[in-house]
Every structure is written in structure tokens, then in C-alpha cells.
């Protein structure tokens, strides 16, 4: 069958209906695990990005691989936000949701994913199911959804797919992709190309079958579905790439010339190493899967001691296990890049859900005084570029560097300008020239605390690394002042790095009623809320921190220009007014706690741990409330 001519016929068929132009759409596909909702949504995102739209995707992942079918907790799926402008976050409520059963919708309703006016396209097979209880559940659910103001459309997905497939558990997702491609006026040729790309390792028969399903879904929608929209492409001046945060981290590792990733599997960081395992050999590198998290960093430290700076990739529980070795890397001044793709904690926590709870652990997690550099990427583009930066900093300052990402960035897909690969990003070869005699292995500069390290193979550079207190010669120290002096040197070099940082850029006016401060993946949601607030005439601005330790300069001065300063974070904080909570015992969100200590300013926080990306609507509500409160308290006082 010639797919190309079929798609032309299909396209000509619908040309009589003119699509309604919209600026953006938030679309969800929700199903049981294993039905391919994510593949469908990722494809919709990729096709849209290929068409030049702004895109952001967020995966909805249950904690288990195959949880029981038709369960509320087992909801698996994806949200795709498509826009005519750059999209930086997941938005508020979905405009349209495709549901493969009604039970999984309850799981999403609990997370406030839909509201009055959300369009729901639900597989109607459950209404005629042989089990009465299921028919009843379905009917009840639809009644409840309609009562909430959701516009429910029952779609005969099952019989339509059965025309092509013997078993619809696999394949329905591509029929849905076809249906959505019509509804949102997606380029059918690009959709076919996408299917060929995702099934590139499969046989031609599989590819053809999926394209057949795509066409069938598309044709069904042309003939039967009343809604038809188009989302115009955005104007971009540079060539774009589209990928998720973990792919960006992996490409960043390779672009940095890092030749070793030493890791242990942990969600949601593992896919970085999957991507590396598939590709790093093309740039002369290798992935080592260690026997545990401790060995993963120990192996990396050994490799760094003997040569080039490696990377280790982990998440919260793994970072906890790595702390002793991190302390050693600080003490022995061994360059190392540690990527922490954060998830919910403490303990096993929420393995597949987002949280920003490792900030203080990253900065202060080790026993003893262990200053090191901590950075946080706030966009997928930064996931790429910050690895390159982290490697350079690790080597220049002879220190471990922790790069924080999170589950939201890890699976979120977004286009950004294609990086212009620069060979200066690549680590230089190991220095094997003779070590300059008389230079000690920790020859700390009294002004900067910096020193140069010998690498095995360098003649006359022989020294022994030790985690024990040591002086400039690297030998175990028995004199009391050596520990004080060496701690000063390790601290001073971090201060020397801080001197190179610039004050952060403020989003909005440089003064006003309210300043929001964020870090990490909340950037898009915060700035969207600030923009909306400003459009309403509210005097709100925001700033976003990339360098967490050491901290960027100028914060106290910036804070002094605002009446109130609040951090926006996805981690736990006590709510004033809750039982037992007083000003004295209230626990602040992590960045707020840290900034209060650093700046001695009265910084408040807005944070939660629902395991969801930050929602711009909720941030905007908070902005309105805070500014109103401040105004009213000002009037009364």
C-alpha cells in the first residue's frame, strides 16, 4: 500500500471544513499502563514540535510497571501542551483528554487536571461490557464527569480498531494519534514519519499496521467528529532541536567530552544512562553499571583520580548513599560531576514524581564541612549546557559539582535552539608531562585556595590521596593547624568561584510589591504566572536561581526593592495556621530556609509535595492573595 497517496486522499477529504484557530491546547491521553498512551502523546508532541509549535510534555507514570487494569491509582498517560508561542510548563487544566477507560480519569481528577469545559473523548466499550458492574461503573462515572461540567464524547474506539487489529491493547494509541491529528490539524505526513521513526527497529509490517491505524483514526474523526482546531506555528529564528531533559543531560555529557558515566539504576535518572549506553561509544566513551550507588561514585572517583572527569547519575536515595564518597571527593579535591534527577522523598518516596527536596542534601548532605558547587537546570536546554559548565567548573576548581534536575525536566519534551557543538567543550587529554618538581599535590594558592593536581603517569608527581586531614604535601597531618588551613583553602576556592558570578536577572520590574524566587523546573510556571499577574496590573516580578552553592551575589539588595519575597518550590513546608505550627517551629521550604540564613531577610515560601509540576494557575492565585493581603494589612496598619 502506498501510504503517501492515502494520506493525500485523506487530507483532500477534509479540506471543506475550516479549522478554528487557537493559541494553545493542553491535551491528555490517559489509560491503563501498557496501552501506549505515552507513546501517543510523545508522538503528538514531536509532530507539533516538527510543525514549529511550542511544546511541553509531562508524563503521568504509575509507580508499578503493570498495575491492575481499570484502577484509579494505575493511571498512566501523558499531558502535551502545544502552543503558538514557546511553552515552558504544563499549564493548569487540560482542554481535551482522551480516556481509554473511566477509572483512570478519577486518578487525574484527584490531581485537579480537568475543569468545566474540558472535552473528554472516552472509549465507549465499557458501556456495553459483558460484566454488569463495569457497565454500571462506566455509566456512573460519565454522569459524574458531566456533572462537573466536562464535555463527554463517547468514541467507538474499540470497534473501529477491531476492524484493523485482533487485540486492541496494542495499537489503539496510534488510532488515537490519528484522531487527535485531525482534531488539532496536525501534519499527517509528519505523523507518518514519526511512526516510522518510533518503530524503526520493527518490521515493515508493524510500521504499515500502525500507519493504517493512524489513517483510520484520522478518517473516523473527519467523518464523525465535530471539533477541528489549528494551532499556528511560532516564529523561531534559529534551528530547533526537540528532546526531553534526560536526553539533553546525556547529550550534554557527551558534548562535554566526558568519557565515563558510572551509574546504578534509579528512577527517574536511569534513562540518562540508557541514552548514554546507546550513544557514548560514538564519542569514545563508556557506561559502567556499578554494583551499587556507592560503588558507582567510588568508581567514578577512581577514574577521575587517574584521568578525565567522569559523571555519575542518580536520584535522591542514591545521593544519600553517595554522601561519604562525596565528602572524600571534597576532601581529596577530585573533580567529578554528579547529576541528581530529583524525585519525591524521603526514602523511596515518589519514584516517578517530581519534587525539589534534595537542595539542602546537595549543599549540606555530607558529614563534616564539605563545600562544593551546586547548580540547578531550569529548562531542558539548560540540562544540556549545564553539564558542559559543570565539568569545566569541576576541573577548574578541583571539586565535585552537583547538577540538580528533576522528574519534570527528565521526561518533559521541549524544543530549544540547536546547540552549536564546540570542541572547546571537550575535556583535554590527560596531562602526562613530568610534574614540576617542588610543586606539592595540594599547593593551595593563599589567595584563591586553588591548586593543580598531578595525574598518575606524571613523573615526579607521585602522591597519596587521603580522606584524612592532610597538608599541601598530601600526607596525613598530625599538626593541629593543618586541618584549619586546609578547610580554609577548600572553602576559599568556592568563594573564588562565587566572585565570578553575576547578580541574577529579574523577570519583570526591578522593584514592586512581590518578588517570587524559584529554582529548577518551576521556571516556566512561575514566569507564566508573573506575566499574567503583571497583565492584571499586579506589581510582581520573579528571579530564578541557577547557582545554588555558592549563591549568586546581590540578592539582599534586590530583595530590599520588594515589599515581600516568596520562594516557589516543590518541596515540603509547614503552613502557618496549621495545628501546632507557630512562627517559632514553622519549617520553611528548602530554598526559603537557605536564603533566610544567607540573607537574613524575612523570606516566605509557597510550596507543596503533591508530586505534580508547579501549576501556573495556583501560583497566580497565590500572587493575587499575597498582594491583596499586603495591601489590606498596609491600610489597617
Amino acid at each position: 500500500m502506498d501510504n503517501g497517496s492515502v494520506s493525500n486522499q485523506i487530507i483532500s477529504k477534509r479540506s471543506s471544513v475550516k479549522p478554528k484557530r487557537i493559541d494553545q491546547a493542553i491535551v491528555e491521553i490517559v489509560s491503563d499502563s501498557g496501552e501506549g498512551a505515552q507513546k501517543c502523546g510523545q508522538s503528538l508532541g514531536a509532530i507539533s514540535a516538527q510543525m514549529g509549535n511550542g511544546v511541553w510534555t509531562v508524563e503521568i507514570i504509575p509507580a508499578e510497571i503493570q498495575p491492575p487494569a481499570r484502577s484509579r491509582e494505575g493511571a498512566s498517560g501523558i499531558r502535551v501542551r502545544i502552543g503558538s508561542k514557546k511553552v515552558t510548563n504544563m499549564g493548569n487544566h487540560a482542554d481535551l483528554v482522551v480516556a481509554l477507560n473511566e477509572q483512570v480519569i478519577y486518578g487525574r481528577l484527584r490531581q485537579n487536571a480537568y475543569h468545566k469545559g474540558t472535552i473528554m473523548l472516552i472509549d465507549d466499550r465499557w458501556g456495553t461490557h459483558e460484566v454488569e458492574a463495569i457497565r454500571h461503573q462506566y455509566a456512573t462515572a460519565l454522569k459524574e464527569f458531566r456533572a462537573l461540567g466536562i464535555e463527554v464524547h463517547e468514541i467507538p474506539m474499540e470497534p473501529e480498531c477491531l476492524k484493523i487489529l485482533p487485540d486492541t491493547r496494542k495499537g489503539k494509541n496510534m488510532w488515537v494519534l490519528g484522531m487527535l491529528s485531525y482534531i488539532f490539524d496536525r501534519d499527517l505526513g509528519k505523523a507518518e514519519e514519526q511512526i516510522r521513526s518510533i518503530f524503526k527497529k520493527k518490521s515493515k509490517a508493524v510500521v504499515d499496521l500502525n500507519i493504517q491505524l493512524l489513517h483510520a483514526g484520522y478518517v473516523w474523526a473527519v467523518d464523525n467528529f465535530p471539533l477541528h482546531y489549528t494551532i499556528p506555528a511560532m516564529e523561531v529564528s534559529a534551528e530547533q532541536v526537540v528532546m526531553n531533559g534526560n536526553q539533553a543531560l546525556s547529550l550534554g555529557v557527551m558534548a562535554a567530552g566526558i568519557e565515563l558515566c558510572s551509574m546504578y539504576p534509579i528512577t527517574p535518572a536511569t534513562s540518562v544512562s540508557h541514552h548514554l549506553a546507546e550513544n557514548i561509544q560514538k564519542v569514545g566513551g563508556i557506561v559502567h553499571q556499578a554494583e551499587d550507588e556507592i560503588a558507582a561514585i567510588g568508581f567514578a572517583i577512581g577514574a577521575s583520580y587517574a584521568g578525565k572527569t567522569p559523571v555519575t547519575v542518580t536520584s535522591g536515595p542514591g545521593l544519600a548513599l553517595k554522601t561519604e564518597f562525596l565528602g572524600l571527593a571534597v576532601m581529596a579535591e577530585i573533580p567529578l560531576v554528579i547529576i541528581d534527577v530529583q524525585r519525591g522523598g524521603p526514602s523511596t518516596g515518589l519514584p516517578t514524581k517530581v519534587e525539589q527536596s534534595d537542595l539542602l542534601a546537595a549543599i549540606y548532605g555530607e558529614a563534616g564541612d564539605a563545600p562544593k558547587i551546586v547548580l540547578a537546570a531550569s529548562t531542558i536546554e539548560e540540562c544540556f549546557h549545564f553539564v558542559i559548565l559543570a565539568r569545566k567548573l569541576a576541573e577548574a576548581f578541583r571539586t565535585p559539582v552537583i547538577l540538580l534536575s528533576d522528574a519534570n525536566l527528565a521526561t518533559g519534551v521541549q524544543p530549544f535552539p540547536r546547540p552549536k557543538i564546540d570542541t572547546d567543550w571537550i575535556a583535554p587529554p590527560n596531562d602526562q608531562s613530568p610534574w614540576q618538581e617542588g610543586i606539592k599535590p595540594f599547593d593551595w594558592d593563599p589567595q584563591t585556595g586553588l591548586s593543580k593536581r598531578p595525574i598518575p603517569g606524571q613523573k615526579e608527581g607521585m602522591y597519596t590521596v587521603t580522606g584524612l586531614a592532610h597538608g599541601p604535601h598530601g600526607r596525613v597531618a598530625y599538626e593541629p593547624e593543618i586541618n584549619q588551613n586546609s578547610a580554609e583553602s577548600r572553602s576559599r576556592k568556592i568563594a573564588a568561584f562565587q566572585k565570578t558570578l553575576k547578580p541574577p536577572v529579574i523577570h519583570g520590574d526591578p522593584e514592586g510589591d512581590l518578588l517570587l524566587i524559584g529554582w529548577g523546573s518551576t521556571l516556566g510556571a512561575i514566569e507564566e504566572a508573573v506575566d499574567k499577574g503583571r497583565a492584571l496590573g499586579l506589581k510582581v516580578s520573579s528571579l530564578h536561581l541557577r547557582f545554588l552553592f555558592p549563591i549568586v551575589p546581590g540578592l539582599v539588595e534586590i530583595f530590599s526593592r520588594f515589599k515581600k519575597v516568596i520562594t516557589v518550590e516543590i518541596n515540603y513546608s509547614d503552613t502557618p495556621g496549621d495545628p501546632m505550627i507557630t512562627q517559632e517551629n514553622r519549617r520553611y521550604a528548602q530554598l526559603a530556609w537557605y536564603l533566610r540564613a544567607k540573607t537574613q531577610c524575612d523570606i516566605d515560601c509557597f510550596s507543596n509535595v503533591y508530586g505534580q509540576p508547579m501549576n501556573p494557575g495556583k501560583v497566580l492565585e497565590m500572587i493575587k492573595k499575597e498582594i491583596a493581603n499586603h495591601k489590606s494589612s498596609h491600610v489597617t496598619s
Binding site: 534551528e239 564519542v283 556499578a290 583520580y305 587517574a306 570542541t423 598518575p456 603517569g457 590521596v465 580522606g467
Partner: protein, 323 residues
């Protein structure tokens, strides 16, 4: 070489001959009578005999009395964390096939806190010499029961005597997948100690050597009598084994013929408790080596890397994205 020009000699000549002093540094701070001193001398002698360049030699240790070892070597050294010598050593070797690596670990370090890494280091089978200094006690923390302390050992953590049977490091190591070299020797027989480490240095893989070591301060009774009585040693003899000079061999009254290619017999002899068997229990030079895998694809040019990066980015690039 007479009559041939210097250029025709394809063998690189060493810069200079290295002596024992080239491999030493400082004064070892172990207790008088500690087995560590003789092991240090044996390793330095092996390095000299192998003419290892000191700058191409790395001693990696964990924490404990034995793990101070790298500080007394004139080579590169890495005195790391308790139990973690193996991961660091494997990391050192992975992308540096040119380095000679020694792992120095103790019974607490290897068989207790670092036991997980022990299993996997044996399985990685990277070319290095691992020396287990086994004195059956925690020394640096002052006399606590170690995993190899004999049942009933009186220590500060078990004043009434230890209650569990000890781990037998030979038996254990011989049970790990991909094990390729297991030998045992003692600190008080310098000739056999040297011959064992020398054999280990030649092994193409991870050579695991358990050194039965005396602790004169905390475990004076454990090997006190044995050390003064050569009859307590059982000499494993075979042409493929560890061979000392005939004069030394003659001093062993108990001799057991053992073919080190026979892992079943090796496991059987590892269980001998009536006397201390010394020699090569097992060797297999054919096992897969993880350092061969690690050294893959090294030294690629920046141009090749850059092209590969561009190809990868192409896969993520939106076609016709410039409007």
C-alpha cells in the same frame, strides 16, 4: 647488540634501573612486629623486579591498619574510604590500562563493610593485585571482632567470646563468578610471600591473595605458635603453582600436590582448618576481563567526536524549523 646501531633496537630501554628505594616513602608507622612491614617489603621488591615505573603504579586502599600502606610506597596512592578500595581501584584501572594497580585491604575492609564490592571486583576481573591483609581483628579501632575472627575470639565487642563462625575468604572468593586467581600466603615466610605476590603480578586478571597476618598487639595468640612452627604450614605444590627456591621448599614438611586449574580441589583445600595451606589454589587465565571492555574506544579525536555529536543532534532537529 654489538655492531647494531641504536636506532635498530625496537625495545624501549628504561630511563634507569630502579632500586628498592624508588618504591619506598617515609617510615611505616605500623606496630613493631606487625605483619604489614614484611608485606610492604615484598611488594616493593616485586615492583623493583618488575621494574614498574613508580609513576605508573597506583596503590589503592580502604581504611584500617593495612590501608595505610599507600603512604609508605613511592608510587601514586589512594587511601580512600572504609570498604571501598575495590570500586576506586576498578575506576582507576578502567580507562588506564597502562597503570599497575595494587589493592590493599583488610579483613574488616574487604569481608565486612566492603563485602559487596569484593564479590563484584572478583567478577570484573580487571588486571590488578588485591592483597587481603587478614589478621582476624579490627586493629585501628582497637580490638573488635572481625568477620574472620575465629569463633570464641574475645574482643571489645564480644568480651564473652565471638558467637558466629568466621568467613573463610578463600572459600568465599572461590565461589564468586569469574574468579581467576586465588592464593594464600603468610607474612612470616618472606620467600613464599614474595613468590606469591610476584606470581600475582603476572596474572592477566584480578589476582586475589589472602595474606595470613599477625597482629602482635591484639591477636598475639592467633598465629603466635604457628608462626614459630613451619610444620603448621601446608605447602601446595605444583609446577603451575607458586614455586619457591628448592632450599626454601625443603623447609615445608607438609606438602600437598595441587593442580591450580582444578577449582573443585581448590574449594576442597580452602576448607582445610588443620594447618594453613599456602600456595596457589586456583588460576584461570582465560576469564573475561572488564578492563578490556573499559579500554574500548579510547583516544578518539575531537573532530570525530564533534561529527558524531552533530549526527546525534540531527536526530533531534526539527526540519524546516526556520520560518
Amino acid at each position: 647488540m654489538i655492531g647494531t646501531s641504536h636506532e635498530l633496537c625496537t625495545m624501549p630501554l628504561p630511563d634507569h634501573h630502579r632500586d628498592m628505594e624508588d618504591y619506598g616513602k617515609g617510615v611505616a608507622r605500623w606496630c613493631p612486629g606487625c605483619g604489614g612491614h614484611s608485606i610492604l617489603a615484598a611488594v616493593q621488591r616485586v615492583c623493583k623486579d618488575m621494574q614498574y615505573p613508580p609513576e605508573k603504579t597506583v596503590c589503592v586502599s580502604g581504611i584500617g591498619c593495612s590501608s595505610r600502606f599507600p603512604h609508605y610506597m613511592g608510587t601514586y596512592g589512594f587511601h580512600g574510604l572504609h570498604g571501598r578500595a575495590f570500586p576506586v581501584a576498578c575506576g582507576v584501572k578502567f580507562r588506564r590500562p597502562d597503570l599497575n594497580v595494587f589493592v590493599i585491604t583488610g579483613d574488616g575492609d574487604c569481608c565486612s563493610i566492603g563485602a559487596g564490592h569484593w564479590v563484584h571486583a572478583i567478577r570484573y576481573n580487571m588486571k590488578m593485585v588485591a592483597l587481603l591483609f587478614d589478621n582476624g581483628i579490627y586493629g585501628l579501632t582497637k580490638k573488635q571482632t572481625s568477620p574472620t575472627s575465629p569463633l570464641g575470639t574475645h574482643s571489645n565487642t564480644h568480651p564473652g567470646g565471638s558467637v558466629l563462625p568466621p568467613i573463610n575468604p578463600l572459600q568465599t572468593t572461590l565461589g564468586f563468578a569469574n574468579v581467576s586467581f586465588v592464593a594464600q600466603t603468610t607474612d612470616w615466610n618472606p620467600a613464599h610471600l614474595y613468590a606469591t605476590i610476584r606470581k600475582a603480578a603476572d596474572h592477566p586478571g584480578l589476582a586475589f591473595v589472602r595474606i595470613v597476618q599477625r597482629c602482635p598487639v591484639f591477636m598475639r595468640d592467633l598465629y603466635g605458635d604457628i608462626a614459630s612452627n613451619p610444620d603448621e604450614l601446608i605447602y601446595l605444590s605444583h609446577e603451575k603453582g607458586i614455586n619457591v627456591k628448592p632450599g626454601v621448599a625443603k623447609t615445608f614438611k607438609n606438602v600437598l600436590a595441587h593442580d591450580p586449574t582444578n577449582i573443585h580441589k581448590a574449594r576442597e583445600y580452602a576448607e582445610i582448618t588443620d594447618g594453613i595451606p599456602i600456595g596457589l589454589f586456583y588460576q584461570n587465565i582465560e576469564n573475561s576481563r572488564y578492563d578490556d571492555y573499559g579500554a574500548y574506544n579510547m583516544g578518539m579525536s575531537n573532530k570525530v567526536k564533534q561529527n558524531a555529536m552533530e549526527d546525534m543532534l540531527d536526530q533531534y532537529t526539527i526540519r524546516n524549523s526556520i520560518t
